[in-house]
């Protein structure tokens, strides 16, 4: 293996990011080549010293608080999925209620808002055109069912 190639791979070798076959080739080379072996040892040592130095630098204790004070804690609260869903549900209900109220209070021909007299007239029309015919149908059904019941009784007596 060429020295330059080995020295390029030493960084990954030291970090344990090299496959077994490559690692064994490097190990073989390091056994034979004094210069590369020294380079390897130097990198390991410098890395050890500098990473210790890096770890010894600690953030000031007040850092978390000052970051938490600087960020907008409402940012994700206001757009949280649950919050959006609840708002959406309430919103849909309110819209539906509003539409019903608006439709109920519109004059059927003119589309204009009605006063209380018109609302009363509208209710009377509703009763006359829908409720009364339904009552008549309902009474007829009751009559028919009573007649069928009496017919059944008379048939049973005849047996």
């Amino acid at each position: 293996m060429l020295c330059n190639r080995v020295r390029k791979d030493l960084y990954r070798y030291i970090s344990g990011e090299i496959n077994k076959s490559e690692a064994s080739l490097i190990q073989e080379h390091l056994k034979e080549c004094f210069i590369c072996r020294q380079e390897y040892e130097r990198i390991v040592n410098i890395k050890h010293i500098l990473s210790n130095m890096g770890r010894s630098i600690e953030a000031p204790p007040s850092l978390i608080t000052s970051i938490m004070d600087s960020i907008d804690l409402q940012k994700y609260k206001s757009i949280g999925i649950n919050v959006v869903n609840s708002i959406r549900r309430v919103g849909i209900s309110l819209i539906a209620a509003g539409l019903i109220m608006a439709l109920m209070s519109l004059h059927p021909q003119t589309g204009k808002y009605m006063d209380t007299t018109n609302i009363g007239r509208n209710v009377a029309m509703f009763q006359k055109s829908i409720i009364k015919p339904l009552e008549i149908i309902n009474n007829n059904i009751i009559d028919i069912s009573q007649k069928i019941f009496q017919l059944n009784i008379s048939l049973n007596k005849g047996r």
């Binding site: 010293i49 890096g54 630098i57 953030a59 000031p60």
Partner: protein, 198 residues
Amino acid sequence: MRNEEIVELILKGETELYAEIISRYQNKVYSTAYSYTRDHEEAKDLTQEIFIKLYNNLENFRNKANLSTYLFRIAVNKCIDWTRKKRAKTISILACQNDEEADIYDFIADYHSNPEEIFLKQENADIIRAEIARLPEIYKTVMIMYYFQDFSPQEIADILNVPRKTIDTRLFRARNLIKKRLVRNTGFGGGRVAVQPS
């Protein structure tokens, strides 16, 4: 709890949990910032900006990458921006301070008395650190990430979003650059080995 789970909860409105993310990474981010600035106040400001940016971009992070990779990508970009903005000031801090020059001369004296061992002494790490700080940006970043922050070449490649082979090459070239500079500036080259042809 895994980072990704915490992020999901934050995005659902439990924003106070962000303190946990900060506490997990604050030292490493601060140390990275300090490696660039070598000034505690500047490092603190930078760290604060980095975490604020991460928080504001948590939605973009979702399902894209490892949180640590994403955080250090922000960190490195912020540090590089800082270096560009403060270049003149930084150079004066990193390269021309009298006490550092004195360290180097002390070191040379020691080096001649015990050439093979002295390089590895803790106090001489400052010399290497100063040399790393003088490197061109692309080399400086990989050196800081590899040596100070203990990231592997693959992790650095992910953070910088470049091929891993590029990182191998940058680490190799950066080390050679440092050796050459030490030879030129101080007569030190990491031992006789460094000046021998491979």
